[in-house]
């Protein structure tokens, strides 16, 4: 045994053999194959990120050409601007609500279906369906549902509360200065909870029945079973869900545009502010906001990529 294994491993490492198979220039074919992708990504992703960062460092606040290099002035201006701080705060509130809402609801639904609820395929379809609708399309409907008129002129949810004699539930929704942004999270949660449910359901189904049986044989209670067997198995799924929902949340734009419009103060987030600045021709400022958004998303995504890379290497 010990004499045959090393020779089997060594065989492919013989230089002559490798040369014979790939014709002397082993790297040419693979490089050529991925070259178009590299060029396209290089130009349209990294090139444009570079160009965006460059614009954000220029003194270019109208549609004319740049008036010179401004360094980090645009960033400094942004972080001393109350409105921008307000939109960052909005983004944080929105992301937290959106994340917690989708994870809790998604997990709950997946758990109920996992408990062999009747009519599983029907519920799965119902919960997953909102994801098929675009944010803009659902936004138009939610714009009506979240109408902030109260009393006689109420429509949408406020009207519903009124007719159910739950008047105290009527509220100004997204026009409230402090908590208005949370109203935008409601349709977002509605739309993506089903997706998180699907992720968790796949996670549940991926846990072999033998594991549970073994735990039960060992005398684990239902809670201990979840605590020590099922949750650890679901944690990669939960992490993926956080990353996916989190980065979608940071980029929220279409939903706000469809519900509240671009200049509305209470639902301002960096992405809508970037659009307003771009529309008025303040290219440097909008590029700076874009760069900040990219950095925020990177803060979330990069550790995830690093950890998955490490895990894969460990395998």
């Amino acid at each position: 045994m010990s004499s045959t294994v090393p020779s089997a491993v060594k065989r492919p490492e013989k230089p002559g053999r490798r040369k014979g198979r790939l014709g002397g220039h082993g790297w040419v074919a693979p490089v050529l194959l991925i070259l178009p992708t590299i060029i396209v990504i290089g130009v349209f992703v990294y090139g444009l990120i570079g160009s965006n960062i460059n614009t954000s460092l220029q003194d270019r606040h109208n549609i004319g050409p740049s008036q010179g290099f401004a360094g980090l002035d645009n960033y400094r201006d942004l972080f001393t601007d109350d409105d921008f701080i307000y939109s960052l705060r909005n983004l944080l509130l929105y992301t937290a609500t959106f994340l917690v809402g989708t994870l809790c609801l998604g997990f709950l639904w997946a758990w109920l279906l996992e408990r062999k609820a009747r009519g599983e395929s029907l519920f799965r379809a119902i919960y997953l369906f909102p994801m098929a609708v675009s944010f803009v399309a659902s936004g138009v409907v939610w714009r009506w549902l979240l109408n902030n008129a109260e009393g006689d002129r109420a429509s949408g949810l406020n009207r519903l509360f009124g007719s159910l004699h739950l008047d105290f539930l009527q509220n100004p929704w997204w026009t409230d200065e402090r908590w208005g942004i949370l109203a935008i999270a409601v349709p977002a949660i509605w739309q993506l909870s089903g997706y998180v449910m699907a992720l968790f359901l796949a996670g549940f189904r991926g846990i072999p029945e033998e594991l549970r049986e073994a735990a039960r044989m060992d005398g684990a209670s239902e809670w201990q079973l979840y605590r020590h067997v099922i949750f650890p198995q679901l944690s990669p799924v939960a992490l993926s869900a956080i990353i996916i929902i989190g980065h979608m949340s940071l980029k929220v734009f279409d939903l706000i545009m469809a519900i509240a419009g671009q200049t509305n103060y209470t639902t301002q987030v960096p992405a809508t502010q970037m659009w307003v600045e771009f529309t008025r021709g303040d290219y440097a400022k909008s590029a700076a906001i874009g760069t900040i958004l990219l950095l925020i998303v990177a803060i979330l995504i990069v550790p995830y990529l690093v950890s998955t890379y490490r895990q894969e290497r460990r395998r």
Partner: protein
């Protein structure tokens, strides 16, 4: 070897695809008898106006071909973004729509549109448009666009039946905002919305008329050239009035646009609405009779002042078809063009030589005022300030809409003026 060749072929194919798509745009310019007119007039009375113009254009220029470059959406902001990227890439349309006045500043500074002063002299347009208008069109010593119409922004629309119900004479006029507020409160006591307003830009429209009413035309004009102090007590008082008015409006304003706010008056749910005279078309469409079902008078305190805005057409630098552009501008300035367009759009001709005898009753009053009144430039519609300044004002007004902080509003407005003051 085989794998290498395949990869090479695939790579080349991908590259050639890229090359083809990069060249694609060049072939578009095509024949020179095409005149691409870029607007955001894609529906409603605006589309009807454009269609009427095209009809005149086709009659006057049988050898030219009109190409509709309209981009819909975002109350013109989508169109402006598309337009800007085309201008910066050196692919301008033959002509594009813009609000006349200070909104053109950015295009002029960026060297994107041509000075038409010589063309005005050559064609005799100087004599055709009133002098007050020409003054407002002149920037940096030149005129850069040809106006197609005139709108008035300081109009107060009222539902006669609702006023009667509240015990107010339907044709009553007010000398000042204060006198008006007294009646608004009466209406509120009856449980009717006194004043309807919609989303941000309509609030800016309301604010500008309050400023105009409280400051007077001269001081209002001073706001834009630095002669009136935004942080001063005059503006402070006006903002206090504005704040009172806003407290007498519907609460669901952020979810509405101007047609919805005007509809509240038409349906009798609200008594008053401040809106430009394009609201006339909404009343007409629903078969309401002027001075019977509804009234339209200048906003209290602004009688004798015409808060003007106009749409106009420009000549981009290095346009694809200069002759075609001039032909289009000719149509815009011609009496036939002015009459056809404005009858359909509900506005009035900018040209004094146009025959207006066939216009409707409201339009006749507007034509009379246009001839007699003092003319000032509208803020909300790009005549008074650059796009940048207007954007800053709009954010300050939007912020006020949610936090009701009058001092904060004045601070925001003063800051906006400081940042954008013309040199």
């Amino acid at each position: 070897m085989n794998a290498t060749r395949k990869a090479l072929a695939a790579g080349l194919a991908a590259l050639s695809l890229l090359a083809v798509s990069a060249c694609g745009s060049d072939s578009e310019s095509g024949s020179t008898d095409e005149v691409e007119v870029f607007t955001w007039w894609a529906e409603g009375s605006e589309k009807a106006g454009l269609d009427a113009l095209v009809k005149v254009f086709d009659e006057q220029n049988p050898d030219l071909k009109f190409v509709n470059g309209a981009v819909a959406g975002g109350a013109g902001s989508d169109a402006k973004n598309v337009l800007q990227s085309r201008l910066q890439n050196g692919e301008p349309p033959a002509t594009f729509q813009a609000h006349a006045g200070a909104e053109l500043t950015d295009y002029i500074d960026a060297g994107q549109i041509e000075d038409l002063t010589d063309l005005y002299k050559e064609k005799g347009w100087n004599k055709q448009f009133p002098e007050g208008l020409l003054d407002r069109l002149t920037q940096d010593g030149g005129i850069y666009s040809v106006p197609s119409n005139i709108h008035r922004a300081n109009m107060l629309w009222a539902n006669s039946a609702v006023l009667k119900k509240a015990g107010i004479e339907p044709n009553k006029t007010y000398d000042s905002i204060d006198a008006w507020i007294v009646d608004l409160k009466k209406i509120k006591a009856k449980g009717i919305i006194p004043l309807s307003v919609a989303t941000d830009w309509t609030q800016v429209n309301l604010l500008e008329t309050v400023l105009l009413a409280d400051l007077g035309a001269e001081a209002y004009n001073g706001l834009w050239d630095g002669k009136t102090d935004w942080a001063g007590s005059e503006v402070k008082d006006a903002l206090a009035d504005y704040s009172t008015l806003m407290s007498l409006t519907n609460t669901d304003r952020q979810g509405l646009d101007w047609p919805d706010a005007t509809q509240l008056v038409i349906d009798g749910e609200a008594a008053f609405n401040v809106m430009g005279d394009w609201a006339e078309a909404a009343f007409q469409e629903q078969n309401k009779t002027f001075n019977k079902d509804y009234t339209a008078v200048p906003v209290p305190g602004t009688d004798g002042v015409f808060d003007f805005l106009a749409d106009s057409f420009t000549k981009p630098v290095d346009g694809p078809n200069p002759k075609g552009t001039e032909a289009w501008l000719d149509t815009i300035a011609s009496d036939e063009g002015q009459v056809a367009f404005n009858k359909a759009k509900g506005s009035i001709p900018a040209s004094t030589t146009a025959d207006t005898s066939s216009f409707g009753e409201y339009q006749q009053t507007a034509i009379k005022s246009w001839g007699e009144d003092e003319i000032v430039s509208s803020l909300a519609h790009g005549a008074a300030t650059s796009v940048n300044w207007l954007t800053d004002i709009t954010s300050a007004v939007a912020k006020f809409g949610s936090n009701k902080d009058v001092a904060g509003l004045q601070e925001g407005l003063a800051e906006a003026a400081e940042d954008n003051k013309p040199e």
